[in-house]
């Protein structure tokens, strides 16, 4: 069953076609890597999937519902309920500790619950670092807090933008292991990356070039 469908999506900035008639279907529980060089349209696609931007033309169908024409307010509510975001720069609030950073996502979703937030941190192996400020955490730990924050509201889709871009190899492996675990648990994942090592662990690899899908194939080496 498809979770997300992009139908003939284009995004045009002046004369620039950041996305050019793109069609993409993401199934429930699927792990997709979106790859491509800089300027290929990866971030634009991610912004459209995460409801933070609207396409110039085309349709976005999420969970069977066309959200293309939704108001900005409705889109905010929709993405808050359905999508968990992981960023390359982590974007943790630096005056809140780890558990509070996770609770921020709860606060703007429904009700903050410290116990649940601690469980999310436990899931990423950071329960003992819950009271630490971002400045007291390593890059890998900050990214895991970011993943815990993305998971806290049980989203249908985790959308990660260059999640290992700022990490060393050891921390990259920890984050990828976490993604494997989430995939096993049935979480749908879209990881935008230009790092082949990160892309090759995904179930399916979509390559973008000049705003178009250059290739879309199953990863034969994908290991469950």
């Amino acid at each position: 069953m498809s979770l997300l469908e992009l139908k003939d999506i284009s995004k045009i900035y002046g004369n620039l076609h950041a996305l050019d008639h793109v069609n993409l279907t993401v199934d429930q529980g699927e792990w997709i890597a979106i790859m491509g060089p800089s300027g290929s349209g990866k971030s634009t696609m991610m912004n459209i999937i995460s409801c933070m931007d609207k396409p110039t033309t085309g349709q976005v169908i999420f969970d069977g519902r066309d959200i293309t024409k939704d108001s900005r307010r409705k889109l905010t509510e929709f993405h808050r309920d359905k999508i968990g975001l992981v960023f390359q720069q982590f974007h943790l609030i630096n005056y809140l500790n780890a558990v509070e950073n996770v609770m921020v996502a709860q606060y703007y979703h429904s009700m903050p619950d410290e116990k649940e937030a601690l469980e999310a941190l436990e899931r990423v192996g950071l329960k003992d670092r819950a009271k630490h400020l971002p400045s007291q955490l390593s890059g890998g730990e900050q990214q895991r807090v970011c993943i815990a924050r993305a998971l806290i509201n049980s989203p249908s889709l985790i959308l990660a933008d260059e999640p290992t871009g700022n990490l060393d190899e050891a921390n990259e492996n920890i984050v990828l292991d976490l993604f494997r675990q989430l995939h096993k648990e049935g979480t749908s994942l879209i990881v935008v990356t230009h790092d082949p090592e990160v892309g090759e662990v995904a179930q399916r690899i979509v390559r973008l070039e000049h705003g178009k899908i250059a290739s879309d194939k199953k990863n034969e080496q994908f290991a469950e």
Partner: protein, 432 residues
């Protein structure tokens, strides 16, 4: 969570918050000082101007009509008097507490050593006790305060309470020189009604025609004019509100006022309403404003208040611009944090509420500090300009709080606009 975020923001941005609080404190202090001075400046200026004499004169009604119709001074045959007991009525009117001083005057031509001398009877520092409907009204009043600019060049003021009897006089400097009088001398003054031997208590310099006159007690003047228990005119010094359109309309004819206008006019200390009330209390008298003084009061007050209001406005505009810069730069610095909040589902209203709560709490702390600074400024202004303290009004504290919140909200508008326009897709991921 909301308060954790607020306290966290305070901890992280305490320097910026301190700057905002200081900006507000400066604006609030000037506003507090100016508003407090503005509220009490009317009384202060009135008090200052009271030093320059009376602002209301009371004469017998018939004399006022004749003077008005024929523009002539009365002759002795025309002279009308008012009973001395009517003076107590000044203490009974609605605005009695605004009447600072008053004195009856009774003038008569007389001769001293064969030379014609204008003699004026008055109260100097007279203790008046007046009983009406079982209530006793008391006041010390007289020309000692109404002629505060007199410079006593020899001797002392005529102190009615300390001196025995009433046969004393104060002599203007020019007249004293002509008559070769000095303090302690006695001389005889004669009129058609008799003679009195008076002792000079003091010689005064006034800088006006009164330097050629002789002032004595009212009772002595009454004997010299044969008008026992009477006076010809009263000078009243009252604290008044500056005239406005209503006062001008009422001064023409109070009967033209509507019911509400009449009530407002009657219950405001306009010089015309005080005159009206004096006439109500003493029906045979006509009270009128000494326009020069009343107009000066109104104009000075109006200009001073305008100046204070402008300074307050400028300080608030300055504070608004300062807050605007600080809050906007704060939001710019926090754009990633605010974009993240939007990305995890925060609505514009929630982020705006968070930022405004931080700013308003900071501004209120600044306002409290500014209020006390303003209190100090007001006292400095009061002491330097009016040589007295300025009363702090609770209304000003309330008004300053409202102004600070308004200034903060207006100053935060550009930042709020920025929050509304902030797009997480641009801030969090960068390009396309």
């Amino acid at each position: 969570m909301f308060f954790r975020m607020i306290t966290g923001a305070f901890r992280r941005q305490w320097k910026k918050m301190l700057m905002i609080a200081m900006t507000v404190a400066l604006g609030a202090s000037i506003a507090t000082a100016m508003l407090n001075v503005m509220l009490s400046v009317g009384d202060k200026i009135n008090e200052e101007l009271k030093a320059y004499g009376s602002n209301i004169t009371v004469v017998p009604r018939s004399e006022a009509v004749i003077s008005h119709l024929y523009d002539v001074d009365e002759t002795e045959e025309q002279a009308e008097y008012l009973p001395e007991e009517t003076l107590g009525e000044f203490l009974t009117i609605f605005w009695a507490n605004n009447i600072v001083d008053f004195t009856p005057l009774l003038d008569t031509p007389a001769t001293v050593n064969g030379q014609e001398v204008p003699v004026v009877g008055a109260w100097f520092d007279h203790h008046l006790a007046f009983v009406k409907k079982g209530t006793t009204y008391e006041r010390n009043t007289g020309i000692i305060n109404l002629r505060s600019w007199w410079d006593i060049t020899d001797g002392t003021w005529l102190d009615e309470a300390k001196l025995k009897g009433d046969r004393y006089a104060m002599v203007g400097q020019k007249l004293a020189a002509t008559l070769s009088l000095k303090a302690g001398d006695t001389f005889t003054v004669a009129t058609d009604h008799g003679t009195e031997t008076l002792t000079v208590t003091g010689i005064f310099e006034s800088g006006d025609d009164e330097e050629g006159m002789l002032f004595t007690t009212l009772s002595t003047a009454q004997r010299l004019t044969g008008a026992e228990g009477q006076y010809k005119k009263a000078e009243v010094s009252a604290i008044t509100s500056p005239d406005d359109e209503l006062a001008v309309k009422a001064a023409k004819n109070p009967d033209l006022l509507t019911g509400d206008e009449y009530d407002l006019w009657y219950c405001t200390a306009y010089v015309s309403s005080i005159c009206f009330q004096i006439q109500e209390a003493i029906p045979q008298a006509s009270a009128s404003a000494v326009r020069q003084i009343a107009d000066s009061e109104g104009k000075i007050l109006e200009k001073t208040e305008l100046l204070m209001a402008l300074i307050t406005l400028m300080s608030l505009i300055g504070a608004t611009l300062g807050i605007s810069n600080l809050v906007t730069s704060g939001v710019m610095e926090r754009s990633a944090e605010l974009a993240l909040m939007k990305a995890v589902g925060a609505k514009n209203g929630q982020i705006t509420r968070l930022i405004l709560t931080e700013i308003i709490l900071t501004a209120l702390v600044g306002a409290a500090v500014g209020y006390f600074m303003g209190y100090a400024f007001a006292q400095i202004i009061g002491q330097r300009v009016f040589s007295s303290s300025i009363e702090m009004s609770g209304m000003v504290a309330f008004l300053v709080t409202i102004l600070v919140i308004a200034v903060t909200l207006v100053g935060s508008l550009p930042a709020v606009r920025m929050i509304l326009r902030l797009r997480p897709s641009e801030v969090l991921h960068g390009g396309h």
